[in-house]
Amino acid sequence: MRISDQDVRHLEALAALRLAPADREPMRVHLERILEYMEQLNAVDVTGVPPTSHVLDAGNVLRDDQVVASLPVADVLRNAPDASGSFYRVPRFVGEAEAEA
């Protein structure tokens, strides 16, 4: 599978990553080589074979809908890069488009 520079940029957008320009070409080459290696799977006859969804015969698990204690908000927010009260704080983004227009 040929991977183009444009493909890598598209993957970055999907994955929320932004490679430095100098890192993009080595990444493209690595991805291409690895995907080429994976093409060996095309030679395997998988007609009528179901995909694995779980390795053992596990079923769905249900439990009673009981209220139990959850982690204290302060303990959880201690790891936030920015918080306000019991909320995570992020840069303003609602109304940005209007402001730029």
Binding site: E12, V49, H54, V61
Partner: protein, 483 residues
């Protein structure tokens, strides 16, 4: 004799008879960490004060089970309220978990003493522990060589007697391969046998927690403390954990050992191949019968694994977003910039490569060709094992095609690094329990052999491993007076 060099079994006997106190063991381990870890770099976080405090508390109690008072180390992908849980990544550099992983809580309840956190490949992605944001760990047998990975810190620490045991995690061999490279025992239980609650997810359908220990018996002791159902992990199996008897050397008598010769012949280093043959002879001498088995699709395991594992990783790692508990970029900009810049600054190159690969195989137009096809071939690999286990009790394979390689040797070629996992990934794809035990050394570096068993065949697997271990008579690094 430094008590840090003893096995858990031996230490527990001395604790029960009060010839040793928990603090003696903790101080012996801390002493070795202070002396040896500046070079090895296996334990980036040490909880010396907390561990000594806990040891003093325990001294007022009646000695409990086999792990009571035993110092241990957690791979840094397991959440601990003590210290930070970084997963070897800058993106979690300052993350302090508000809760303990279930395995950590169970060991705490068993009276084991957490000494620190071990180094690892970032988010458990790697086979050498070179991909840690905190720098590589070195192999205690030869500091120019890697300890294997991704649980390389755990393996190096146990090999150098920095702790009595360590926990690792195994997604494609990350317990067993470093165990082999460092001359210790590494055990991956059946998928779902041990809770994954508090194991920071890499590939959820493959990840499993397990012990790295000095002996198979010690692996049994740790396994029995951590295994079993956990309401916090709905994929953990709600089935009783077998108590394991031991018959010592006789445990291999009458055991049918399957050998997939066609598969094993591929890409083996000559010394490793000779060692595997010698190991099979030792198994026969201990009473085992060898059976030829065929794992026709096993050679496709690496291709399947790096599709399934990266797809799951791409999904799992989307939670690291610069908003809730990770590094956040200092770059100004909109929300999309915050996400992308925080992630790109926080993740190392291998993690980014796997996220992009996983994103590719799941993306529109490629999902059927890569991800779905890989999951179908995975079914065929599982069926190969089902067929093989109809004619044998356990399957033997080398753990790695080579002994430990030199630091930097494979860093430039990710595909070459992936191929070194060829004998370990099939166990994860099929959910099977597998154990690596040390066999011998070549050029001053240890080699390992693996045994695989059917799902939930832990009792059979560990008994056979103990029999083989006795037959091989491997001398640990600490028994050789080398460190």
């Amino acid at each position: 004799m430094n008590p840090a060099l003893l096995t858990i079994e031996e230490q527990a006997r001395l604790l029960r008879s009060r010839e040793l106190a928990p603090l003696d063991l903790v101080d012996a381990a801390l002493g070795r960490i202070a002396t040896l870890d500046p070079q090895l770099h296996a334990v980036p976080q040490v909880f010396a004060a907390e561990a000594r405090e806990r040891a003093k508390q325990l001294a007022n109690e009646t000695p409990g089970g086999p792990l009571w008072g035993i110092p241990w180390l957690a791979k840094d992908v397991l959440t601990t309220r003590l210290g930070r849980t970084t997963c070897g990544s800058r993106i979690l550099e300052n993350f302090r978990s508000p809760y303990d992983a279930t395995v950590v809580a169970r060991l705490e309840a068993a009276g084991a003493i957490l000494l620190g956190k071990t180094n690892m490949d970032e988010f458990a992605m790697g086979s050498s522990t070179e991909n840690s944001a905190w720098g590589p760990t070195r192999n205690p047998w030869n500091p120019e060589c890697v300890p294997g990975g991704s649980s390389g810190g755990s393996a190096a620490a146990v090999a150098a007697d920095l702790a009595s045991f360590a926990l690792g995690t195994d997604t494609g061999g990350s317990i067993r391969q470093p165990a082999a490279f460092c001359g210790v025992v590494g055990f991956k239980p059946t998928y779902g046998r041990v809770s994954r609650y508090g194991l920071v997810a890499f590939a959820s359908s493959l990840d499993q927690v397990g012990p790295l220990t000095k002996t198979v018996r010690d692996a049994v002791l740790v396994y029995e403390a951590i295994a079993g159902h956990d309401a916090h992990d709905s994929t953990s199996l709600d089935k009783p954990v077998d108590r394991l008897a031991t018959d010592g050397p006789a445990a291999l008598r009458g055991v049918r050992v399957g050998v997939p010769r066609d598969f094993v012949a591929q890409g083996m280093d000559a010394a490793a191949a000779a060692d595997f043959d010698a190991t099979l002879r030792a198994a026969v001498a201990a009473g085992a019968t060898l059976v030829d088995v065929r794992l026709e699709r096993a050679p496709a395991s690496i291709a399947v694994y790096y599709i399934v594992a990266t797809a799951e990783a791409a999904a799992n790692l989307s939670r690291f977003d610069g908003v809730r508990y990770t590094h956040r970029t200092a770059q100004a900009g909109d929300l999309a910039t915050l996400f992308a810049a925080s992630r790109t600054e926080g993740f190392g190159a291998e993690v980014q490569r796997r996220i992009l690969l996983g994103t590719y195989v799941l993306s529109s137009g490629y999902y059927d060709a890569y991800y779905l096809r890989a999951q179908k071939v995975r079914t065929l690999i599982r069926r190969d094992f089902e067929r093989a286990f109809a004619t044998c009790d356990v399957i033997a394979m080398p753990t790695s095609p080579t002994p430990a390689f030199r630091i930097g040797e494979r860093a430039a070629d990710p595909l070459q690094m992936y191929l070194s996992d060829v004998f370990t990934v099939p166990a994860n794809l099929a959910g099977l329990p597998a154990i690596s035990i040390p066999t011998s050394t070549v050029g001053g570096l240890p080699l390992g052999v693996q045994l695989y068993a059917p799902p939930l065949g832990e009792a059979r697997l560990l008994q056979a491993a103990e029999g083989l271990e006795a037959g091989l008579g491997f001398q640990r690094l600490g028994q050789r007076g080398a460190v």
